[in-house]
C-alpha cells in the first residue's frame, strides 16, 4: 500500500476574494519527487504559499493532508516544525541579522517546538559548516546579514542549505531555478539530489524544463489557470518544452 506524504484533494484557493486555484488534486507518495510546471499566472506560487500556510490565502474548498493529517489546521511555524519546508522564489533580506544567527534561531526554534534540546553555538556552527561546504557556502557568506546583497545564486544556495539543516519530510521548491545561470543551477540541483531520500518527498515547482534535467522527477503535473491539466512521467517535461503550455491546455 502506498504511503502518502502529501494528498491535495479538489483544492480551491482564493486571494482577496478572487479564486486562483480551481480544484487541484495531486498526491505525492513518500520517497518521490513530483514537479509542477506551469506558465506565469497559472497559480504555482499560490500553491506553494497555501501549502506553507501564508495569511490571505483562503481555502474555499477541498483539503490538504500531510502524512494523513489535516495540514490546514497548523500555523505556518508549526508546519515548519513538523517537517514542511518551503524554499522561496524570492528569499527576503533581513538587514543586520547575520545569516548564521538566523539559521541558529530557526533551528533551535524548531527543536524547542519539538521538545528537543537546543543546540549551543558551537554545535550549530559545526552542523552548518558541514552542510555548507557541499553548497560552496563559505564562512564569509554566513557572517553577512541574511540575504542582504546576496546574488541570485547565493540566495538559492542558502535556501537549499536550510533544507539540508532542517531535514524536512516534505520540501516544496518554488521556482528555485529562477535567476540562476547554468553553473549555479547545477550546484543547487546537486544539493537537492543529495537530499532525496526514501523517507522524504519533494514538490518542485518550475516554469522551465531545464531544472528537471538535473532533478529528475518521478512525476510531472502541468498547472494552467488554476487546474492540473495533465500528469505524466518525467518525459512530459520534455514534451512541454517542445510543444509549449498552450498545446497542453488545448489537449
Amino acid at each position: 500500500m502506498t504511503e502518502w506524504m502529501l494528498e491535495i484533494d479538489n483544492l480551491h484557493v482564493a486571494v482577496d476574494g478572487k479564486e486562483i486555484l480551481k480544484g487541484i488534486t495531486l498526491s505525492i507518495p513518500t520517497g518521490e519527487v513530483h514537479a509542477v510546471m506551469g506558465p506565469n499566472g497559472s497559480g504555482k506560487s499560490t500553491l506553494s504559499y497555501t501549502l506553507a500556510g501564508r495569511e490571505g490565502y483562503e481555502i474555499t474548498r477541498g483539503r490538504i493532508l500531510y502524512q494523513g493529517e489535516d495540514l490546514t489546521k497548523l500555523a505556518p511555524e508549526e508546519r515548519a516544525t513538523r517537517g514542511v519546508f518551503l524554499a522561496l522564489q524570492y528569499p527576503v533580506e533581513i538587514p543586520g541579522v547575520a545569516t548564521l544567527t538566523f539559521l541558529k534561531t530557526a533551528l533551535n526554534a524548531q527543536r524547542r517546538a519539538r521538545r528537543e534540546t537546543e543546540l549551543d553555538a558551537m554545535r550549530v556552527l559545526k552542523l552548518i559548516r558541514e552542510k555548507a561546504k557541499a553548497l560552496n557556502i563559505g564562512e564569509e557568506m554566513l557572517k553577512r546579514p541574511l540575504n542582504a546583497g546576496f546574488s541570485g545564486g547565493e540566495k538559492k544556495r542558502l535556501e537549499i542549505l536550510q533544507m539540508a539543516i532542517f531535514e524536512p519530510k516534505l520540501a516544496i521548491l518554488d521556482e528555485t531555478d529562477s535567476g540562476l545561470d547554468i553553473d549555479a543551477l547545477k550546484l543547487v540541483a546537486e544539493g537537492v539530489n543529495a537530499l532525496r531520500a526514501p523517507t522524504r518527498a519533494m514538490l518542485v515547482i518550475t516554469h522551465y524544463q531545464r531544472l528537471l534535467t538535473h532533478i529528475v522527477p518521478n512525476r510531472v503535473h502541468v498547472l494552467t489557470k488554476g487546474r492540473i491539466v495533465k500528469s505524466g512521467g518525467s518525459d512530459l517535461a520534455l514534451e512541454l518544452e517542445a510543444s509549449g503550455y498552450e498545446n497542453v491546455e488545448a489537449a
Partner: protein, 485 residues
C-alpha cells in the same frame, strides 16, 4: 498587511501583562512631607547631612525654579503635573543605620535585586563589575570599592562625595548643566536625592566597568538622581546605567541630571539601558522621564560617547549631548528608542562644536509600535571658531503596525564654512514577507519580530559593552513581548 495587523493585535493582548519587573517591595519608608517648598529642600539637605554650601546651592536653585515654567516644545502630551502633590524624598528605613556590607542590607532589598537580576551577588563580583545600587533615593551598597581605591578611582554616592570630597564636587557640579539650564534640571538641583559620583585621576584607566542600577520604588515619589563623572587628563572610564521599576498606576516623575567632564585626552563611555514601567496597554500609569544629560569635552583631544537603549517610561524627554569645547575632541551618540502602546519618546542629542577639528557621530534607531509616538530631535551646531568640524548623522525609524508614528526633527546650524555635515534618514516597516519568511523557518512571530528589530538596532547594540549588549538584546525581546511580540 494581514500579518502586520495580527502582530498589532497580539501586541495589544500581551502588552501590560509582560512587564516582568512589576512588583513592589514592602519596606518602611522615611519620607519627606508631600509637596515642595523651602522646608522640603532643607529636609532633604539635612537628611543627607550636607554642608551649608550645598544647602545654599539647593535653595538658590529652588528660588529660580519657582519662576520657571515647564517646557512645552517636545512632541509629548501628558496631563499637568501637580508638583505640590508629590513626595520629594523617600529612603529605605534600614538605611538609617547605614549598612556596611551586604550582610547588613535588608533581606527584602536583596530579594528585590534578585528578582531584577541585579548582580550584587558573588558571580557578578567575579565578573569584575562594581555596583552602586540606588534603591529609591539612597545608595545602599557599594562593592569593589577597595580595588577602585587602589587605582585612585572615586566611585561613591554623590551624597558621600559632597561630604568627603567637597572641593572636587564644588569645582565641577553644575558646570556642565548650569543650575538654571532648564525647568527639570533646576528642579533636580533643588531636590536631588542621591546619585553617583565618579572621579578618575590623571592617566588612570579605570580597572573595571562601573555599573549603577537605578530603581524607583516608593509610590508617588519623584526620583531625582544626580550624577557627576570627571575623567582627569589621559584617563578612561566606562560607566553603565541600568534601570527597572515596579508596576504603578500613578504616574511617577523622574528628572535626573547627569554631568560628564572629560579633561585633556580623557575618554568617557556612558551606556544606559532604561526599562522603567511604561504604563499599561491603555496608557495608564508609567514613568515620566525628563532627563538632562550632558558631557563636556573640556580638554583637547578628549572623547565622550553616549549609548542608550530606551525601552521604558510613559514619556521620555532626553537629549544626551556633547559640548566639543576642546580642539580635536570627539562626541558620539548611539541610541535605540522603543515605544509601544501609548508610550511617547522625544529623544535625541545635541552636538555643539566649539573647538577646531571636532568630530561627532549620531546613530539613532527609533522603533514604534501600538499607538506610540517616537520622535528624534537633534541639534548639530558648528560655531565660528570650529574649523574643520565634522558630523555624520544617521536616523532610522522602524514602524510596526499602522497606528504608531515616527518623527525626525534634525536641526543643523553651521557658522563655519569648513564644516562638513552629513545627515541620512530612513523610515521602514517590518514587512509581511519578512515575517512570513521567518514563520516558514519555524520561528514564531514574536521571536521573528525580536530578531528583525535586533537586526535593525545592530549598529547601536555593538557599541554597548559585551555584557550589557546581551542584556540589551534580551530587553529588546522582552519589550517586544510587551511592546511588539
Amino acid at each position: 498587511m494581514v500579518a502586520v495587523r495580527e502582530t498589532t493585535e497580539r501586541v495589544a493582548d500581551l502588552a501590560g501583562e509582560k512587564y516582568k519587573y512589576g512588583f513592589v517591595t514592602d519596606i518602611e519608608m522615611v519620607r519627606a512631607e508631600r509637596g515642595l517648598n523651602e522646608n522640603t529642600v532643607r529636609f532633604i539637605s539635612a537628611k543627607k547631612g550636607e554642608p551649608e554650601w550645598m544647602l545654599e546651592w539647593r535653595l538658590e536653585a529652588f528660588q529660580r525654579w519657582k519662576e520657571m515654567t515647564e517646557p512645552k516644545w517636545a512632541r509629548v502630551h501628558y496631563p499637568p503635573i501637580d508638583y505640590q502633590n508629590a513626595y520629594y524624598y523617600a529612603a529605605p528605613k534600614s538605611q538609617s543605620d547605614a549598612p556596611k556590607s551586604l550582610d547588613e542590607v535588608d533581606p527584602k532589598l536583596l530579594e528585590t535585586y534578585q528578582k531584577l537580576g541585579i548582580p550584587l551577588s558573588e558571580q557578578k563580583l567575579l565578573a569584575g563589575v562594581a555596583v552602586d545600587a540606588v534603591f529609591d533615593s539612597v545608595s545602599v551598597a557599594t562593592t569593589f570599592k577597595a580595588k577602585l581605591t587602589e587605582a585612585g578611582v572615586i566611585f561613591c554616592p554623590i551624597s558621600e562625595a559632597i561630604r568627603a570630597y567637597p572641593d572636587l564636587v564644588r569645582k565641577y557640579l553644575g558646570t556642565v548643566v548650569p543650575v538654571t539650564d532648564n525647568f527639570f534640571a533646576t528642579l533636580n538641583s533643588a531636590v536631588f536625592s542621591d546619585g553617583t559620583f565618579v572621579y578618575v585621576p590623571k592617566g588612570v584607566r579605570c580597572p573595571m566597568e562601573l555599573s549603577t542600577y537605578f530603581r524607583i520604588n516608593a509610590s508617588e515619589t519623584g526620583q531625582f538622581e544626580r550624577t557627576l563623572i570627571i575623567a582627569d587628563e589621559g584617563s578612561y572610564v566606562s560607566y553603565l546605567e541600568g534601570c527597572t521599576a515596579p508596576k504603578r498606576d500613578e504616574n511617577q516623575l523622574h528628572a535626573a541630571v547627569v554631568e560628564l567632564v572629560a579633561l585633556e585626552k580623557a575618554e568617557i563611555k556612558y551606556s544606559t539601558v532604561q526599562n522603567w514601567y511604561p504604563g499599561d496597554a491603555e496608557g495608564k500609569g508609567g514613568i515620566y522621564n525628563f532627563v538632562t544629560k550632558r558631557g563636556d569635552c573640556r580638554g583637547k583631544g578628549s572623547k565622550i560617547s553616549w549609548t542608550q537603549v530606551e525601552t521604558g517610561s510613559a514619556i521620555t524627554w532626553k537629549y544626551p549631548s556633547c559640548i566639543l569645547r576642546g580642539d580635536d575632541t570627539v562626541g558620539e551618540f548611539y541610541s535605540i528608542a522603543i515605544t509601544n502602546n501609548f508610550q511617547q519618546a522625544d529623544t535625541g542629542t545635541k552636538m555643539i562644536h566649539l573647538g577646531r577639528n571636532t568630530r561627532s557621530r549620531i546613530v539613532s534607531k527609533g522603533i514604534s509600535a501600538g499607538r506610540a509616538q517616537n520622535t528624534y530631535r537633534g541639534l548639530v551646531s558648528v560655531h565660528p571658531r570650529a574649523e574643520n568640524a565634522r558630523n555624520h548623522t544617521q536616523c532610522d525609524s522602524l514602524l510596526i503596525g499602522s497606528h504608531c508614528g515616527a518623527h525626525t526633527v534634525p536641526y543643523i546650524e553651521s557658522r563655519n564654512q569648513t564644516a562638513k555635515l552629513e545627515h541620512e534618514a530612513t523610515t521602514s516597516k517590518i514587512s509581511d514577507d519578512q515575517l512570513f519568511y521567518c514563520l516558514t523557518r519555524g520561528i514564531p512571530q514574536e521571536e521573528a519580530v525580536a530578531l528583525i528589530v535586533n537586526g535593525f538596532c545592530r549598529d547601536v547594540l555593538q557599541q554597548l559593552p559585551m555584557e550589557f549588549a546581551v542584556e540589551a538584546q534580551k530587553l529588546v525581546g522582552i519589550s517586544l513581548e510587551g511592546s511588539v511580540g
